[in-house]
Subunit: 204 residues, 2 copies
DNA sequence: CCCTAAAAATGACCGCGGTCATTTTATATA
DNA sequence: TATATAAAATGACCGCGGTCATTTTTAGGG
């Protein structure tokens, strides 16, 4: 017969996540071992793998939180900005900064950003979906209401535009994680150029 | 005093690479251990790391060869094609197929495609550069001589066009490596749409 | 040809992520 | 409350990538 999950489960899971959160604060993921997380959370190592599929699966929760922070900030921050393009650049760079700062974070993002929701931790896919929705509605708004410095092209639907933007952001993060793009300014410049070329409608 | 490297060096390095080539034929990289490569090549494991920085560094040579094969095939194959766009799609999908078939291959490609040539094995960066050159000259030719099904846009230089194409191909490979893009046909369709939108000049 | 110093090869060893047979704990029922 | 059993926790263990003090081989000067 089936019994329902005990409340211990949620507690230990929370303890593990809290330990992971603390230990990864400011340190690269690959310097934080599963043994260390087990020790910090006062739980046997084996238990980590009972609650999470693997190290990536565990840390994807941490990445999810960081991703969510970007979304939240985008949604709440009403700071006036020079233009729609600048706003998009600003938000994109927040993501690039997050992803390119830690190889393992980028790794997790790439592994899970493409996967079907079934094999990914819900927090991560939720955050990712929220981010994609935010981008989608941003572009929708831009197209409908207009915005500086140019009008969006109309020969592609918003979803297609968004997927292109994502592609540029992702590759920018990859290039920056290696050292192909050295300075942050170069990264911004590249994205600005690509965004213009991808999003701009025919000249008025 | 400095002595020059012995000829043994090249021999063992070649033996190791040959073993790696054999063992990875048709099998995912992560099923082939360094111990296995050492055993197959008749060399101590420690020697592998004397000749190559790490497993990625070793296998990047194998990836380089596969990459080079794509370049070579593109350069020699004079098969008549329906259009420039089809040719580009065809060649891009060859790369996508290569990268998405094995996680570790994709990993190596992403790690090294961005890195400065100094920290990457020469064969790999050579193959990558050859591929980029091939794309560049393909696009240059398209722009100058024209070609179906449309003329290339002229508001971006060829290098910028190429970087965009690479971005779309890379993300397509990532999506396909996970299961975001299930069928190969969907992948082709996505790329076709993105290539058109990215490359097409203003309607005549 | 021998001797010596540098170059190359070696394999025991380490920490890591991950597994699993076993033990401990909680809960439903009598 | 006592008992049976499912759920949860445990930690010794494994194979992996990678290291390094030691040994073996090679090349060049006397």
């Amino acid at each position: 017969m089936n019994r329902k999950t005990q409340k211990r489960t949620h507690e230990t899971k929370a303890r593990i996540l809290e330990a992971a959160r603390q230990l990864t604060e400011g340190k690269p993921f690959d310097t934080v071992s599963m043994d260390a997380i087990a020790r910090q959370s006062g739980v046997a190592k084996g238990s980590l793998f009972a609650h999470f599929t693997d190290k990536s699966g565990l840390l994807s929760h941490v990445v999810a939180e960081r991703l969510q922070a970007i979304v939240d900030h985008w949604e709440t921050d009403g700071t006036a900005r020079g233009s729609k393009l600048e706003e998009l650049l600003d938000r994109s760079m927040a993501l690039v900064d997050l992803l390119s700062a830690d190889r393992a974070v980028l790794q997790i993002y790439l592994d899970y950003s493409g996967a079907t929701s079934s094999n990914v931790s819900e927090p991560f896919s939720a955050s990712l979906e929220a981010l994609e929705n935010r981008l989608f509605s941003f572009l929708s708004h831009w197209r409908e209401k207009g915005g500086a410095p140019f009008a969006l092209r109309t020969d592609l639907d918003v979803a297609a535009l968004a997927s292109g933007v994502s592609a540029f952001v992702t590759t920018a993060a990859i290039y920056r994680a290696c050292d192909r793009i050295v300075s942050r300014a170069d990264c911004v410049a590249l994205l600005q150029c690509q965004f213009r070329a991808w999003l701009q409608g025919p000249a008025a």
